[in-house]
Symmetry: C2
Subunit: 443 residues, 2 copies
Amino acid sequence: MEFVTGEVVSKSMDLQEFIACAGSDRPVCLEGAIHSIRNMGEIAFIILRRQCGLIQTVWEDQKTNMDISQLHDGDYIRAEGTVRLEPRAVHGRELCIRTITILSRTSAPLPLPLAKWKLNTSLETKLNLRPVSLRNIRELSRFRIQEGVVRGFRDFLYSQGFTEIHTPKIGAKGAEGGSNIFKLSYFHKPAILEQSPQLYKQMMVGVFDRVFETGPVFRAEKHNTRRHLNEYTSLDFEMGYIESFLDICRMETGFLQHTMKFLEKNYSDSLKLLGITLPKVDQIPYVRFDEAKELVSEKYQRKIRNPYDLEPEEESLIGKYFQEEYGSDFVFVTHYPSKKRPFYAMDDPEDSRFTLSFDLLYKGLEVTTGGQRIHDYQMLLGKIESRGMTTEGLETYLEAFRCGMPPHGGLGIGLERLTMQILGEDNVREACLFPRDLNRLEP
Amino acid sequence: MEFVTGEVVSKSMDLQEFIACAGSDRPVCLEGAIHSIRNMGEIAFIILRRQCGLIQTVWEDQKTNMDISQLHDGDYIRAEGTVRLEPRAVHGRELCIRTITILSRTSAPLPLPLAKWKLNTSLETKLNLRPVSLRNIRELSRFRIQEGVVRGFRDFLYSQGFTEIHTPKIGAKGAEGGSNIFKLSYFHKPAILEQSPQLYKQMMVGVFDRVFETGPVFRAEKHNTRRHLNEYTSLDFEMGYIESFLDICRMETGFLQHTMKFLEKNYSDSLKLLGITLPKVDQIPYVRFDEAKELVSEKYQRKIRNPYDLEPEEESLIGKYFQEEYGSDFVFVTHYPSKKRPFYAMDDPEDSRFTLSFDLLYKGLEVTTGGQRIHDYQMLLGKIESRGMTTEGLETYLEAFRCGMPPHGGLGIGLERLTMQILGEDNVREACLFPRDLNRLEP
């Protein structure tokens, strides 16, 4: 009988190994995609692309087993030879090729100039050709940074005693209500796609005290703006035994602090490549919803049209205000009006027109909604009744509260929006591998 | 202006702090749910439940601010006092309560005896009351272990240079085909729920070399068995620059080795509580599909009915065989018949009736399907044509291959199945927080 052990041996060196063996006679093997070829006649520079970066290789006439004319941008090859120091090459080294093996060929010229520093192609074209356009190293670097944000979120919450959960995305009914819900048939029963793990994560606070989930959520909103996606990745947490909704803001600030450090430490290549300066998050101001409206109304001479709602332009001005006055990219706007928050939001005991809730604005864009939730069974029933809602479909949720729940609260962060703001992009689709919007269902 | 810093201060101590301050006069505060009350008249033992474990507190008549009759199983309280050593208490210490504050009350007796060691309740009842039944510490411990499996998967793959991706769950068409797909209307366009991130992760191999995703997948299968869920969490990876499909098996073996060590180190409490012995994974045997069928046919005198399919009973017997003959809980069954594998599977160049693919069986249950994929554009077109499929809906996928793709392969692991087998449970629903099956869409 034959056995597999856990050892994975790769023929190709990785970048660190490659860097380490310059100047020795050690035979070196590199596999990669041909990023570009600069043909000088007697010699040619073939730049190989791997996720870890670009590597320079040199083809010399008569010294390599293959003619340069047989190679094309986009071909995947294995190049074998030795490494020599070359100050003009990226990483200060290059591979002198002796043998080339073709791993896979392109079947036609590439549809985009992938080796260019910037693609200079419309977003529409980039999205239509996503698996190709992302081969440009600046394009793909965005999603390396997005990975870092998700890792930072999870690592920080694990360290704070949170348990990771996986909740269902197909549900029986949109308990949070609203018309913005995708419907489907589930074995001849009406079903929906969850617009948030909200009720599930609350139920799980009664079990694990603190929980989080990173997963897709679905919103059938008919907005087609630069800020909206109909499917996105939500970073959600919910924590029990809080004293105040500010505990949630503190936990989010801690996450941001951890994550910015984490990105700096582990994703510095991508940050440098994209020229990104990470925001300062040592402290984040917080301001009441009604005060924030007044502050910007005063400073920017803008009339308050609706005291119970924030218009996108107002969000943007609040962001501007806190940048100008306090040098902060972030601001927590607290105490949103009750009528704008769902039934489970905890009203402010001092003024029930407002809730113990908040949004986090990042450069004037809402990236988080959160707050304290009602934990008392009778209060929850009262709120449901006063809203004229039915408890149908909420039976199990309510049973959890009937059996006791600790004071708790939580939040949901839109991963793509947060990434977009870190990247300094102005369309959320730039921060989503395969966006879904009103007009886009493919690829 | 007021500011939030990242410091989250909790009034309640955690278990480690509690253990550290025994014997001192330091005032201690603990918050938790009342797991059980043992009332001896003059004194009463109140066991508090937190996710980190159970803690004993002692109420003494006249010395506490509240009468014991006011407290009930399931209430959430804050208990303040001092800690003393008590060898008979769990953790060897107890809190002598001076002040109790009610955080939240149950509104009725608990529907299940949560404090019992085993719930002894039907699976059906447990699932109907999920947010309550999980408050039993054995029930919740299963999902701590599940968390460890997912962390192990991610940590190992990060260390191996994989990039984490998030792919859409709503798609335009079921390119993998089959009738087992949930359909929905997406702004008046026909859409489906993805049954796997397969095509997306392949496309991303051309970008990131190695990618993984942990997320929900949806299968409209009409099976109602102990092994099937209609929505489950899939641990998926796909890696480029492989030499053989065995590289995928090696990577999975490495993941299992890492994860078993990780569980032992970080989740030993939960493992002990459930009496779980982790499987040995230092090496895993692999055997061809046709050979495996013959081996069990011979040893267990079972006639081979269909040479191109594995029946569940055969899977189970293969598991038994490798346990008996090689002491292994795991076995890779390789070279599945082409007609049983999707179009993108790489046929064995030595015998195109079979593929360079595999399933991993764990105690006789399939927990993984994987293999090498076709990376050559022309070969892929040929396979699609020979199957009588259309390329409609596959345009972007094919464009990625037209622009070149490295040799690659990957796998998908059913998280709930893997967890179920680690736990030694015989129904996959025991390893899913909120299962979705033919009859269950709630809670």
